[in-house]
Symmetry: C2
Subunit: 207 residues, 2 copies
């Protein structure tokens, strides 16, 4: 039921905001951080805070990691992220782990350590830096897309029964991609034809 978030810095806090905006209850957020003041703040906001190093098995066991529905690794250093991921994977072989690293060269090490999804901060912000130079409005749009609950949101969802049989561009939401039978098709791919039940969409929704 619960999500374990390792690291309560800027990254961990942003991750939690995104989790809450997407429907996770704050009672189901468990935060681990070595800083007692950070954990005090997490507790005061209604999360379950645990002071300690998430790279240590005895600390992770206190989060009931074996029953977690997901783990977010939001460490400040890449070596710390690897150690946490390895330890989580040892204690729970099947929980989905989402982790972030700073450097691209460490992304594959993180996958090798057991992370299912890896965010490379410096590549992502580098791309945004380059884009922003000639397209300053794009940065505001990306920030909006990634911040759920107001303005534009990027959302993954399945097709509703009312949408089955419609074209990808006839929906109220703006469809960007359709995943069907393991294949992901872009919105303008003729192979989409009409939407089928069980299609998974990535859409832009306007609130």
């Amino acid at each position: 039921q619960h999500v374990v978030v390792c690291g309560y810095g800027t990254k961990g806090r942003s991750a939690i905001r995104a989790l809450l905006a997407n429907g996770t209850d704050k009672e189901h957020v468990v935060v681990v951080d070595p800083s007692p003041t950070a954990i005090e703040e997490a507790n005061s906001l209604g999360f379950t805070g645990i002071v300690g190093d998430a790279g240590r098995a005895d600390v992770l066991r206190r989060t009931s990691i074996e029953k977690a529905r997901a783990v977010v690794v939001a460490a400040n250093r890449d070596d710390t992220a690897v150690l946490i991921t390895l330890t989580v994977r040892q204690l729970n072989p099947s929980v989905p782990i989402t982790a972030s690293v700073r450097e691209e060269e460490n992304a594959s090490l993180l996958r090798q350590s057991g992370a299912d999804s890896v965010i490379t901060s410096s590549s992502t912000s580098g791309r945004l830096l380059g884009l922003a130079t000639d397209s300053p409005r794009v940065v505001a749009v990306v920030e909006d897309l990634l911040t759920a609950g107001h303005g534009l949101d990027l959302v993954q969802r399945t097709v509703t029964s009312a949408e089955v049989g419609m074209g990808a561009r006839q929906l109220r939401d703006v469809v960007l991609s359709v995943t069907r039978g393991g294949r992901t098709l872009r919105f303008d791919d003729a192979a989409i034809g009409t939407l089928q039940s069980e299609d998974v969409l990535v859409v832009v929704r306007s609130n």
Copy 2:
């Protein structure tokens, strides 16, 4: 004509890839980094590399900063980013500066130092971490959107003459926002009506 990129780590390299994909010639990229091996690599790829600390005026002057069309600050540390931004602004009061910081609390300091556009890496990657937990496909879509040249691209452009008079959802590109007279409207805002010349769009384009 040229863009000065301060920092040739993962972030700076990603920024340059984005600049090239958006039409900047490699002859117009000037890279500053303290590492001679990094600069050697930059030179071998056809950029103009300068070894030195971009926070020093004498180093920045060697980039012809006073004639640059844009500056990208891709430093690894937030204090370095602030120092570079202040020095650039001192030497060129009007050049657009795009900068990145790790921590949210430093974003306002960077704006105060003269940056026009600020990317906060840890907030952005934190949001992606949170989103990825429940919507793993969203991460791949975001990476695709931010990587120009193939798949889906996020693009800022003006309305073409053929598009004037059309509705925002009738274009081949998927329109996300329309900026008109300083106001930015979301794709489903009734106030858009039909597109007007001089409207600036942020669109998703499929290659």
